[in-house]
């Protein structure tokens, strides 16, 4: 029986928002759950996120956005991912996300949305279903 390759996740903090508690908690949880997790640190430009995702050959980019700017940021990143040929990388978004924006994000091409309060179980289930 072949061993399953570990899923590689980049937890990324785009833009100027400095609230990293959720991102760090999820990074620790995913690591405990057996994923390979890279944490980007704060104040990442979208270019930097793409670069890290490419260099680290991640399967999933998990954006963490607490400032409310998730729609414009996600839209831009998706366009850049397409542009850079990151077709087999999934994008998930977490943070302060009003429910009314979840369908909007999914329509843009975001694979999964994990608003604040989502259980670790649901997050890992969600990621596993993508990969």
């Amino acid at each position: 029986m072949e061993t399953k390759k570990k899923i590689r996740v980049l937890i990324a903090k785009p833009g100027l928002d400095g609230h990293d508690k959720g991102a760090k908690i999820v990074a620790l949880a995913l690591r405990d759950a057996g994923y390979e997790v890279i944490y980007s640190g704060l104040h990442q430009t979208l270019e930097q996120i793409i670069q890290t995702a490419t260099q680290e050959a991640v399967d999933v980019i998990g954006l963490s956005i607490m400032s409310g700017a998730h729609l414009p940021i996600s839209k831009k990143l998706i366009a850049m991912m397409k542009d850079q040929g990151l077709d087999d990388v999934c994008l998930t978004v977490g943070g302060v996300i009003p429910y009314q924006d979840i369908p909007k994000l999914k329509e843009m091409g975001v694979s999964e949305v994990f608003p604040g309060g989502t259980s670790f179980e649901k997050i890992t289930k969600g990621i596993n279903s993508l990969c």
Binding site: K13, G15, L16, D17, G18, H19, D20, K21, K24, I25, A27, L28, A29, R31, Y39, G41, L42, H43, T45, S67, G68, A69, L71, P72, I73, V96, P98, Y99, Q100, F114, P115, G116, G117, T118, S119, F120, E121, K122
Partner: protein, 556 residues
């Protein structure tokens, strides 16, 4: 974080109570507990208004003056913020607590590429003195003090506040500004840092030195345990880390030849009140005592007034839930009660919809009314430190004092705060704690009403079923982001650059650069830059060029 650990038996009786700070609580306390700890009124409490101030900084406390309420306010354009300021003041708020948008906090103008999507979102967009003139128009700056929630560019905002006051005809010794200006806590738990640690501390030192000499009514630093606690620190660590951070700033200013006596009296604190009620109250009483003792014994401060731990005890967002948001109204009331029983000078209260949005007028006013009720209706002004003498509270306060000192000692053994933060030690510690607590919340180990499933309730643990936003009273109103804000700010910048004297701007920025590179205090140069209508981005840009940007230590 904040809920105690309760170990129950099969019948639901509580066998053990362990507070987040690590203190175990007995079923009952009596006089023997105070005897055992060697408690005496003179040594451990002091009369209200007397050293060590455990009971209160002032003999009369709320009997002479109710607390100051400062709801964190600001969004969109300076015009809208000005309107909200006036609304809150008209409704009885007696101080301002100004929120700035992220580009401003991070030293970028509204037209910088990184500002996209952020202009006016989490606070007001300030690009230059012109914006301050709009924001503070008609506000009596000699009567209303302004807390400015700004850190990395606090020097710039302080200078701008002085400039706008001068523009309106006030003198700098009439105005009261309290920039938050606590860069070390940003690096632990709020994230709005820019420059490397030693430069960040230098700027804090510059602002303190300047305030001592030029801004007599201003409080240059607000040491924030609040955010450190939000990030995962225990209540005891919240106080301990804030005190160790204070020491880092004090040491920087003392190196300039200024005595602690001359400036520590102007430090203020920003602490968090969510979670277990008793733990918070004991924490604040212990904190007042420890701060006074530390300043007296370690820094030789003699003047009684300068030993005061003046603070805003408020908050605390982490205690609220997304699920069943109206429950947060009650939580807020209990947290505010904790602040009042702790004798907070100033307070603010998170609004019930914080998990979703910037508070609306309605929810912000609900918070304000909660605070008013405690003072005016329910009796929190009746007498000073009403819980004093309680066997439980006094024992708990002494135990909390020990815990805080233990945590401080640990930081000292790790080389002090600057070292700990530069190497990521504190950051990793609080993140891990936050993770452990979250695990406990999800497993039901820590109880959260409306969130953890009850025995009868089948519903899944998380709040993503789509129902959380709907409440019994209707849906949570979301604060809409207005694209017009960015448009307006950008247009204003274009006009500003065209109409100001660009030669003056250039010269003032050059002088600023020279000061930043050397050891001159940057503040007077910043005031000149502000008056010349240099932008926030231009002034912060000089600092970025000179100091570089901090590289966060590794997370794991």
């Amino acid at each position: 974080m904040g809920v105690a650990k309760y170990i129950k038996d099969e019948r639901g009786a509580i066998k053990e109570v362990i507070y987040q700070s690590g203190i175990k609580v007995k079923p009952a306390y009596g006089p023997e507990d105070l005897e055992k700890s060697g408690f005496t009124y003179e040594k451990d409490l002091g009369a209200p208004g007397e050293y060590p101030f455990t009971r209160s900084l002032h003999p009369q406390s709320y009997r002479s003056r109710a607390w100051t309420t400062r709801q964190y306010t600001g969004f969109g354009t300076p015009e809208e913020t000005n309107e909200r300021f006036k609304l809150m003041i008209a409704n009885g708020q007696n101080g301002l607590n100004v929120a700035f948008d992220l580009p401003t906090q991070m030293g970028y103008d509204s037209d910088h590429p990184l500002s996209e999507g952020e202009v006016g979102r989490v606070g007001m967009a300030i690009d230059s003195l012109k914006d301050f003139e709009t924001a503070f128009a008609g506000i009596p700056l000699d009567r209303i003090g302004s807390g400015l929630t700004i850190n990395a560019v606090a020097t710039i905002m302080m200078a701008m506040y002085q400039a706008v006051a001068e523009k309106f005809g006030y003198s700098k010794d009439q105005i009261s500004t309290t920039p938050q200006n606590d860069i070390l806590k940003e690096m632990i738990g709020r994230g709005a840092w820019i420059f490397p640690v030693e430069h960040g501390v230098r700027l804090v030192g510059d602002s303190i030195e300047y305030a001592v000499k030029e801004l007599p009514k201003s409080n240059p630093v607000s040491l924030c345990g609040y955010h450190i606690r939000e990030s995962g620190a225990t209540p005891a660590q919240e106080i301990a880390y804030a005190f160790e951070i204070a020491k880092a700033y004090i040491d920087n200013v003392v190196q300039r030849g200024i005595k602690p006596e001359d400036f520590v009296g102007r430090f203020s604190f920003n602490f968090n009140v969510y979670g277990n009620l008793w733990e918070q109250i004991a924490k604040f009483r212990a904190a007042r005592k420890l701060w006074a003792k530390m300043l007296k014994n370690e820094y030789g401060v003699k003047d009684k007034k300068k030993l005061f731990l003046r603070g805003l005890f408020g908050g605390g967002g982490s205690g609220l839930t997304k699920e069943q948001p109206e429950n947060n109204i009650m939580r807020g009331a209990y947290y505010a009660l904790g602040a009042a029983l702790s004798g907070a000078q100033t307070t603010a209260l998170c609004s019930f919809d914080e998990a979703y949005t910037i508070p609306t007028e309605r929810s912000a006013l609900l918070s304000l009314r909660t605070l008013e009720m405690l003072m005016d209706e329910v009796g929190l002004r009746d007498t000073v430190d009403p819980l004093a003498g309680s066997y439980f509270i006094e024992t708990l306060t002494l135990e909390m004092e020990e815990k805080i000192l233990e945590e401080m000692k640990e930081v000292q053994q790790m080389g002090g705060m600057v070292n700990c933060i530069s190497n990521g030690l504190i950051q990793r510690k609080v993140s891990k704690q936050a993770y452990e607590f979250e695990k406990g919340l999800q497993s039901g180990e820590y109880k959260k009403v409306g969130l953890n499933p009850s025995a009868k309730d089948d519903s899944s643990l998380d709040s993503t079923s789509g129902q959380a936003e709907k409440t019994d009273a209707g849906t949570v109103e979301l604060h809409e982001y207005n694209e017009e804000w960015a448009k307006k700010s950008k247009a204003n910048l274009i006009e500003l650059r065209a109409t100001r004297n660009n030669k003056d701007v250039k010269e003032s920025l050059k002088a600023l650069e020279k000061a930043a590179k050397g050891r001159d205090n940057v503040m007077p140069y910043l005031v000149k830059c502000c008056h010349a209508y240099a932008t926030v981005g231009e002034m912060a840009g000089v600092f970025r060029q000179t100091f570089g940007e901090w590289k966060e230590p590794e997370f794991y």
